[in-house]
Structures are given as structure tokens and as C-alpha cells.
């Protein structure tokens, strides 16, 4: 699913059940990451610190909470902090299925035009970020 537009969706937010996010709500004309995570995913916890660093660098990160439950998900964010600009609550994994997610964590890079430009499966760290993501961001001044 690289080189194609981000699929359409309409899913609840993690914090607020009454808030729904769609594709167009989240695209803001800038590069963004979609990070697939869950509270049951130990590797996601080890990735969390690096995501927080990216957030401080001004990278927009959308969380895709994958087949999780609200309570443990929220308590994980309370313990480790929340690096996400918005969090989609994908309890049934429907958007994840459309993205071809096979496990957590996974991270997608979305272009300003809303196209999926890169996909990384596994724990994101500085080395992988510099090697696989940064070259794709060049030209936008980020």
C-alpha cells in the first residue's frame, strides 16, 4: 500500500467517543506519520520515547490505536505521555486492514497530498528514521 492515497475512513477518537475522524479531517497539507500502536504491544512501548522526540521536532503523528481497549490504552498514554496529535480508535482493525497492517508497531508516512509514501513495520528508532524517512521529507523544509 505504498504509492496510493490514504484510504477513506470514519472512526471514533480514542479520547472522545463522540468525536469521529475522517481522512480529510486529519490531512493538513503537511507530511504526517500514522503510527499503529496498542497497549498490549510491548514493542510499541519501547518505541514511544522516540515518537515523543519526533513530536518535539514538530512532526505530526497520528496514532492508530489497533485492536485495543480504551482503558489500558489511555492508561499507557498517562504513564508514557502522548506524542500524538490525534488518535484514531480502530477497535476492529478496519482501517488497519485497509492499510495492510499485519502487526504493531507499524508506521506510515503520508505526503501533504495524502498519499502513502513509505511504510515501516517494526520499532521505529533514530537510525531507521534518518535512513528511511528523512530523505523522503527533503524539499519541504522539515
Amino acid at each position: 500500500m505504498v504509492g496510493v492515497p490514504l484510504p477513506a475512513f470514519n472512526l471514533q477518537g480514542l479520547y472522545d467517543e463522540s468525536q469521529f475522524y475522517s481522512r480529510d479531517d486529519l490531512l493538513d497539507g503537511d507530511f504526517m506519520l500514522i503510527n499503529v500502536w496498542a497497549s498490549w504491544c510491548a514493542a510499541c512501548k519501547s518505541e514511544h520515547g522516540f515518537l515523543t522526540r519526533l513530536q518535539h521536532q514538530g512532526i505530526d503523528i497520528i496514532g492508530l490505536n489497533y485492536r485495543d481497549e480504551r482503558k489500558p490504552a489511555l492508561s499507557m498514554l498517562k504513564d508514557l505521555g502522548d506524542p500524538y496529535q490525534a488518535i484514531i480508535y480502530d477497535i476492529h482493525g478496519s482501517l488497519a486492514l485497509d492499510l495492510g497492517v499485519i502487526g504493531a508497531p507499524e508506521t506510515f508516512l503520508i505526503s501533504p497530498a495524502g498519499e502513502i509514501v513509505h511504510r515501516f513495520s517494526g520499532v521505529l528508532d533514530k537510525q531507521i528514521w534518518d535512513k528511511q524517512f528523512v530523505p523522503l521529507l527533503v524539499g519541504v523544509g522539515k
Binding site: P72, G93, L97
Partner: protein
Amino acid sequence: VKQLIYVVISLVFASVSVYAAQSADNSVFYDANKEIAIKADLFEFESDEQRQRATELARQLRCPQCQNQNLIESNSPIAKDLRLRVFEMMKDGATEQEVVDFMTKRFGEFVLYDPVVSPKTSVLWFLPLIILVFAIYLAARTVVRSK
């Protein structure tokens, strides 16, 4: 004495398993996917022929999260989701090729038990043949030499 040891061991084992069962945090492993699994299990097709075709197709697609189980065999949540998706697509009149394309677009050719012949998969398809020819050559040479 032996019997006593057995009794003690089994008592310890029983109490440990009771404790483990009680302390298991069900909230973490709650199966939010149950509805979908039930839907896939009770899926109503328009005809037996359609059911057969859809089931056969799902059997030919590998579960992307598993080592080597197809969408019918595997009980993983993703396999159940995809099984339901395959059934729905077939019921809506999708061709088998459309379903296969849907799957490979998302999860890659890994899901195919019979990968298409392409430059990328040529080694996979032709290496066994090359090895066979080479083996026949070696065998023939050995026989000729021993004469």
C-alpha cells in the same frame, strides 16, 4: 513417601493454576473481534455453489500474520477479518482475481501459495527445475564414467 511427594506436587500445581486464572487481566485480552468471527462463521451465501467457491478461495490465501495457515484454518483476528472480507466480496459479485488483487495489494504476494511467475519469483519457480537437470547430468556422468 513417594505418594506424598506426588500429592504435594499436584496440590502446588493446582493452586498455581487457580491463582493464574484468577489474576489474569481479562481486560487486556478481551476479544473485540468476536462479532466479526461470528459473522464470518455464520455468513449466509446466496447459494451453496457461492459458498464453495468463496471457501475454496479463502483456503488458497495465506493468513498474513501466520507462518503457514490459510484464512480458513487460522484463528487469528486478522484471518477472521479477511475471511469475512473475502466472503463479502464474493457475495457482492467480485471475481476471484479481484479478491486476490485486493489481498496482494495490501499484504503482498506472501498471501499467495501459488505466486505469479515474474522476474522476482523466477528463482522460486525455476531453481528446482535447474537443480533437477543438474542432478540428472551428474548422475549420467557418474554412470558413464563407471562403465
